[in-house]
Structures are given as C-alpha cells and as structure tokens.
C-alpha cells in the first residue's frame, strides 16, 4: 500500500540468507542486552541484602590509585589525535573510491589500471607529505 512508495525498489526479499543475518543480529543484541540488564537488575534488587553498602565513601569515586581526586577527567588532548582522525577520513575516502575499482578491475583492463595508478599516486604524494612534515611524530 503506502509502503510500496516508500521502499522504492520493492521490499527486501526475505531469503534464507537475509533471515539468517537478521536472526543472528537479533540474537546477538538480545543476548548482550539481557546479560547487561540482568547484572544491573540483580545488583539493584539483591545488592542491599548481600551487603552492598552504598554509603561507603570512595567506593563510587573514579579510580585514581587511592589518591584523592585531582582535577577533572574532562581534559583536553593533543591536536595530533585529531590529525590522525582527519588523515584517516581522507584515506578512508580514498579506499572507498578504490573499492569499486577492485571489484570491477578485471573488466577494466589496462586503462583502468593506469587511471587508478594516477589516483593512488596523488594520494601517495599526500602520505609522503604527511611523513615528511612529521605531522604524525609524537616527540
């Protein structure tokens, strides 16, 4: 009915394969949620009776090797971590562009190979530049 318009290419075929994947994912999520929920609920329900003392000082404090807390944990970090993430995104996009080539390269032949070589070469220059500028050195 109305859904047909929304799903466009027609609904997903519910083959045994898709069924298997969905079943597995549902099982995995259910298992993880159940286990985590169980221990939390059990702690809430039976904790008091089993001798958990929520008033104990320090028990719920963040761990700092037994020393009183010093400052906040929400500290700022070296900009290099951000650079790493940025480079990753750029190279990830490169990889994503290479993927369709990798799948189809047998039929793309020599031309395709040299076209991709040009693409990779430009990014290899980029990698060389990062390494030359020592942008990823932690000294």
């Amino acid at each position: 009915m109305a859904m047909r318009g929304l799903t466009m290419g027609g609904a997903l075929d519910f083959t045994p394969e898709v069924f298997g994947a969905v079943l597995y994912i549902v099982l995995a999520v259910a298992m993880a949620v159940a286990v985590l929920g169980l221990v939390q609920i059990a702690t809430r329900c039976f904790g008091k009776r089993l001798g958990i003392d929520a008033t104990k000082r320090g028990k719920y404090e963040p761990y700092e090797c037994g020393v009183p807390l010093l400052g906040s944990a929400r500290e700022r970090y070296a900009i290099r971590f951000y650079l790493v993430a940025l480079f990753f995104v750029l190279f990830d996009i490169e990889v994503v562009f290479l993927l369709p080539y990798a799948v189809a390269y047998k039929t793309l032949g020599r031309e395709g190979f040299f076209e991709v070589l040009a693409f990779v070469a430009v990014l290899a220059v980029g990698l060389l530049y990062i390494l030359k500028r020592r942008a990823l050195e932690w000294d």
Partner: protein, 400 residues
C-alpha cells in the same frame, strides 16, 4: 518446500552463535594456561580436579594429571564470578553511555561472524543445500569492514562515560589506534578482493579450493594447499596479521588498556558483566580476526583431500567431509588465537610514537604497494579478458 530452508538456516545460525559464545570462556582459560606455560608457572589448576592427590589416584588419575587437566572447569567458575559481582555505576559516570558502551564492545566482533563461512555447503538432498554460514551476503567482506568501523566506539564511549582519567586516555588511544590500522587493513583486503575477484568470503574459499595462478605467474591446482591465499598474497598475510593484532588491541598493540600505565585502560571503571562484555569482546574479536585470516589466507574449511572425499555419492561421507571441514576451520581460526596469545606473552609493548610510526610509515605504504602490485600482476592480457573467470567458475560448480 521453502520453510525447511529457513529451519535449517535457523539451526546453522544457532549453532554458530552458540559456538562462538561458548568457546570464549575456554579461550580465557587457555590464555591463562599458555601464559603460565610460557612463564614456567602452573596456571589455574584448582577448579575441576579437586581433592587430595590420593583420592585422585584412587579414581585412576596419575599424579601429573592435575598439572595438565586441573582447572578445566575454571571457565565456568569465571563466568559465575562475573555474573555474581556487583554491577556498580561510578558516581560521576554518564549513566546512559556507561551502560550502553559494553554493548558496542561486544556486538561488532560478534556480528563479524555473520559473513564468515565456517564450513562447506552440505547438500542434504538435491536442491536442498545448507550453507554453514550465517548469511552469504552480497557485500561479503564489506560487511566485516563496516562492522569493524563500529568497534572503536565501545572503547571510546566507555572510556568517556566513566569520567575518570585512565579510561578516557584509553578511549582516546583506542580510537586513534584502531583508525590508524583500519586504513592498512582495508587496503590489504582490497588487494585480496582483486586477487579473488570477489567480495564474498564464500567465493574466496571456493577460489582457494580450486587453486589458481600463483602470484599471477604460475598455475597450481587446488588438491594440495597451493591454492591458499597465503601463497598468493604472502605480504598481505603478514600485514593482515599485524593489523589484526592492532585492531584487537592485543599486545604489542595494547596501548588502550596497558596495565602498567593506564591501570585497566578503558574498562578501569567497569565491574561485573560490564567488564565481562569488554573482555568477551576482545576474545570474540580475536576469533573473528582468526576466522577472517583463515578464510582469506588459509583456505577456510578447505583441506587437502576434500575433493576426493566429496566425490563420494554417500550422504554419510559427505557429512563426514563437512565435519572435517568444520574442524579444520576451527583449528585454523584457533591457530591464530594461539598465535596472538603467544605473541602477547613474548613481546613487549610498543611506545605510542612507535605504534603510529609502524601504522603510517610501515603498514599503509606497504599495503598500498601490495595493492598496486596485485593489480599489476593480475592484469589481464590485452586480449579479451574472458578466459580466466571461466576456470574459476567450473571450479566453483565442481565443489557444490
């Protein structure tokens, strides 16, 4: 007609799911035993064969048995212990994220098993075929990559939500490290996609079972192990194994949780099964990486002589062949897990700058070179390119 396929699939799914989860506690036990062996200790030896030596001897156990077998029930004890611990939430933690983060630690590696084929297809009767695989998705290996990209978040959110310094440092490190090695891993996998000419892990195993052109130069057949990816992509094999260790945060790449500087790293503030999930996630991830390694480089469920066994018409022999294949896959997968443990108790840890250098100066350039080399070597001759795939196609149909 249709419904029994779904039932068979459900059985396969349950077996794989249950199998993966039930092996984990034993892996923890093995890790402790192996570390004990490497460090010349005894390791866990109490839970299992209990009682005084004289009593054990009365039951026919020799004195040395306890050293080897003692403690075989330790995994069960560990599980019970984790389940009965107090699941505390630190006072300053960010509750929703703190509770959700362990989910993200355990689900990605668990989901990787969706596309890993654990055994050959079983032909129950003509037309009814059970794939020993959760789902043979079209995207194949891409599914693993997509799921793997999620795996850093369990550690990152967990570290941040704990609102403590050590976990936060661990989380930040985990993100930067996993991201750095993911590029290399994807590039390695791209080279494999090229050399197998498929993204489906199932096809990859079939190609290896069928043999092919070694290094793009000389031909080999699939009866012996020369069809395995290891011999076609030796550099990729080494790079992938290194990336696998780094993605799993295993030594020598375990900076996100290194005990000597970050206490417990990202899971410092976790207790009970919250910690258990992180722990489980690590071991499942090792198995998943081992499974991928086995599938892409070690022929998956393929073993020498499988073609000969499958030539028989008897269903029983066919099932036996499939069972052997399943066992062979398990051995290959756990072989990598053993390797990871061995490495862990042998090598020291990298420094952070060394880790970054290995990733960006070592793995990524080498993986890029490997990719270009693969493309160049496997390039079809200028003549029509329809010769090669045929060979593989016949092989694929033969093994059905």
């Amino acid at each position: 007609m249709g419904w029994e396929l779904y039932v068979l699939k459900a059985v396969a799914v349950l077996l794989i799911f249950g199998g993966v989860l039930s092996v984990v506690p034993f892996l923890v036990f093995f890790e402790r035993k192996i570390s004990a062996f490497i460090q010349d200790r005894v390791g866990p030896n109490r839970v299992g064969l209990a009682g005084p030596d004289s009593l054990l001897e009365a039951f026919g156990f020799r004195k040395g048995t306890r050293r080897v077998l003692g403690g075989w029930l330790q995994p069960l004890a560990d599980v019970i212990k984790l389940f009965t611990k107090e699941a505390l939430i630190p006072a300053h933690a960010d509750r929703p994220l703190y509770l959700l983060a362990p989910l993200f630690a355990v689900l990605p590696p668990l989901l990787a098993f969706v596309v890993i084929p654990v055994g050959q297809d079983i032909v129950v009767s003509s037309g009814v075929l059970v794939k020993l695989q959760v789902a043979d998705l079209h995207v194949g290996i891409l599914f693993v990559l997509a799921v793997a990209s999620l795996s850093a978040y369990g550690l990152a959110f967990g570290g941040w939500a704990s609102n403590s310094k050590f976990p936060l440092l661990g989380g930040v490190r985990a993100m930067a490290q996993m991201v750095s090695y993911e590029v290399g891993m994807v590039l390695v996998i791209l080279a494999l996609v090229m050399s197998y000419d498929s993204v489906s892990l199932r096809d990859m195993v079939s190609r290896q079972a069928a043999g092919g052109t070694l290094l793009g130069i000389w031909d080999c057949d699939g009866d012996w192990i020369w069809g395995w990816g290891l011999f076609h992509q030796p550099l990729a094999f080494v790079l992938f194994a290194i990336c696998a260790l780094a993605e799993n945060n295993r030594l020598p790449f375990d900076l996100p949780e290194c005990e000597s500087e970050l206490v417990g790293g990202y899971h410092t503030e976790y207790s009970s099964m919250g910690f258990g999930m992180f722990f489980q996630g690590e071991y499942i991830a090792m198995m998943a990486m081992g499974g991928l390694l086995a599938t892409m480089f070690l022929g998956g469920w393929h073993y020498p002589g499988y073609a000969w066994l499958n030539a028989s018409d008897s269903l029983l022999v066919h099932l036996l062949a499939a069972l052997i294949g399943l066992a062979v896959f398990g051995v290959k997968m756990l072989g990598f897990v053993f390797f990871a443990m061995w490495v862990r108790w042998t090598l020291p840890r990298f420094r952070w700058d060394q880790l970054m250098r290995v990733g960006w100066k070592g793995i990524i350039p080498l993986a890029l070179a490997n990719l270009v080399l693969t493309a160049a070597l496997n390039l079809p001759a200028p003549a029509p390119a329809h010769e090669k795939p045929d060979r593989n196609l016949t092989a694929v149909t033969r093994d059905r």
